[in-house]
């Protein structure tokens, strides 16, 4: 598949939203550069926004995204997969019809368009989340385990988000170890629980990751073995539970 890349200036064009709705991007020299990426396979569409809707549908969308990325995108150089311009080019040019059908709210306002289509490519972006999930799980697991970890990520999205939010924890080994601890001790519910006494939307899981971030590098948690990491993890959790419940 030949991916046509956008010019660097696409972001600054005031008319980007309108032209997207009017299908006026794919042939427009205002947006399209001469650069192309020739990739020896198809790059199919997949769900790119899982923030709203029923829980069941969101989980299915995540699984679908994991599967498509695993089967069709993985193996491309990271230089491509981690590039915001690559993804925005795909979405604006190649995924347009799918996006408008799957997310009709895009037609309602530019802010929905910004949230779903030209979202910054960082830990809050759902493509980025799905991509890291697959890149972290797949090389480290074999088949039956793979499904388990995918499910653990989807069931513990809040903790997953906090792990990939902190740069020091954005790592495959650390993520899988934490998921193991959650699975072994059946902590999903406890970690998701809100701490009502604290301002903002604080949850026990977030505080545990926060505490480990504070301790780094006095305690280099990503490099610890499972047993010690588990001890430290549970210790932080219990401290918060003692204080707030």
């Amino acid at each position: 598949m030949r991916v046509r890349l956008l010019k660097d200036s696409y972001f600054k064009e005031d008319t980007l939203y309108e032209d997207f709705l009017k299908d006026n991007i794919r042939e427009n020299v205002k947006y399209i550069s001469n650069e192309v990426l020739d990739i020896e396979r198809d790059l199919p569409v997949f769900p790119v926004y899982m923030a709203t809707g029923a829980e069941k549908a969101r989980k299915e969308d995540f699984l679908e995204a994991f599967e498509v990325i695993e089967n069709h995108y993985l193996g491309l150089d990271r230089e491509i997969l981690m590039s915001q311009k690559f993804w925005h080019s795909l979405l604006l040019i190649h995924f347009r019809d799918y996006l408008l059908e799957k997310y009709p709210q895009i037609k309602k306002s530019p802010s929905e368009f910004n949230r779903i289509v030209v979202k910054k490519f960082d830990w809050e972006n759902y493509i980025y989340k799905a991509l890291l999930a697959v890149q972290y799980v797949l090389p480290n697991t074999v088949s039956p385990q793979k499904a388990k970890y995918y499910r653990l990520i989807i069931d513990n999205l809040d903790v997953f988000n906090y792990i990939i939010k902190y740069k020091i924890f954005r790592n495959d080994i650390f993520l899988l170890r934490v998921l193991d601890i959650i699975d072994k001790n059946d902590l999903s519910k406890e970690l998701k629980a809100e701490i009502h006494e604290m301002p903002g939307d604080e949850r026990f899981g977030r505080r545990v990751i926060f505490e480990m971030n504070k301790e780094y590098p006095v305690i280099m948690s990503p490099m610890l073995d499972n047993a010690l990491l588990e001890e430290i993890f549970l210790n932080h959790l219990h401290n918060y539970q003692k204080k707030y419940s």
């Binding site: 230089e79 890149q135 740069k167």
Partner: protein, 287 residues
């Protein structure tokens, strides 16, 4: 996972920010090459100037780790006494974005500092009671950086004459530079021998504009934006990355609408003072 804060530790560490090991040093050098079309090879050479820590590594009481940080983190345990090449697939790491690399010595078991004769005398009385635990960092090296996509990593400004602009001067923030356009050639002071310094006033204006734009673009809230330089991810944009690196190197921790002038002072090495002495020099030459 890269660590570059000038923080105090609850126990002695060997790092460029700490005086705990007065004679110690921990220096990292890296050469990168491509290994076929699928991987990168990182040839690592390091110097750990500390017999105490060397001995811990030898006795398997401590471990050596290398950490690569670009879009995310990759780390690997190193065998400290072998040839150190680390090969990483291009599926796992990209070098077009900014990459930082650092090595750490980490405690593997609990041990005492009692026999550590390399510590600052400050620790003389207390080191017999100092125990380090598994997972504690003992030493961290300098950070090796790669700015893959930057054409000119150390150039911040670009100045040129553009007769078509509607104002006398126009400051634009280009992909990688603060671009200062002048309507007339004379505004660049081409005839003066200290023209570089005379242009510092323009540089100040350029920095002010660039830092404000950086603040509004990268800050999270739109009203009274504030950026914690130690916490944010490395910016995507080339110019912002240069500003970010500069602020980090000069230990700027916070950028907000109130402290822009202080930040410029910290990153710019007294440019107003230099501008002023350039004018004085001109005056002296005339008289």
């Amino acid at each position: 996972m890269i660590y570059r804060k000038e923080a105090n530790f609850p126990y002695p560490v060997l790092s460029q920010f700490s005086l705990d090991y007065p004679e110690g040093a921990f220096h990292l050098d890296i050469d990168i090459s491509e290994l076929g079309s699928k991987s990168y090879r990182f040839a690592i050479s390091y110097e750990l100037k500390s017999p105490f820590l060397q001995n811990l590594l030898k006795k398997d009481k401590a471990e050596l780790y290398i950490v690569f940080e670009s879009k995310d983190v990759y780390f690997e345990k190193l065998d400290p006494f072998k040839d150190l090449n680390v090969d990483i697939s291009k599926e796992r790491i990209s070098l077009d974005q900014k990459t930082n690399i650092q090595i750490f010595v980490v405690a593997k078991t609990r041990f005492s500092m009692r026999n550590n004769n390399e510590l600052d005398p400050y620790y003389d009385n207390m080191k017999k009671d100092l125990y380090l635990s598994k997972g504690n960092v003992l030493a961290f090296s300098n950070v090796v950086k790669f700015n893959g996509d930057l054409k000119k990593p150390y150039q911040l400004f670009s100045m040129k004459v553009d007769k078509t602009i509607e104002s006398e001067i126009k400051i634009e923030l280009a992909q990688e530079f603060i671009q200062i356009n002048f309507k007339k050639e004379e505004y660049k002071f081409p005839k003066f021998k200290n023209k570089e310094k005379l242009r510092y006033s323009y540089a100040y204006m350029g920095l002010q504009k660039a830092l404000m734009k950086f603040l509004y673009d990268e800050g999270e809230q739109k009203e009274d934006p504030e950026i914690d330089i130690e916490e944010i991810d490395e910016p995507f944009n080339g110019l912002y990355f240069k500003l970010y690196t500069l602020m980090q190197e000069k230990n700027v921790t916070m950028l907000n609408t109130e402290n822009v002038d202080e930040v410029i002072h910290a990153v710019s090495d007294n440019i107003i003072d230099k501008y002023c002495s350039a004018i004085e020099e001109l005056d002296r030459d005339e008289s």
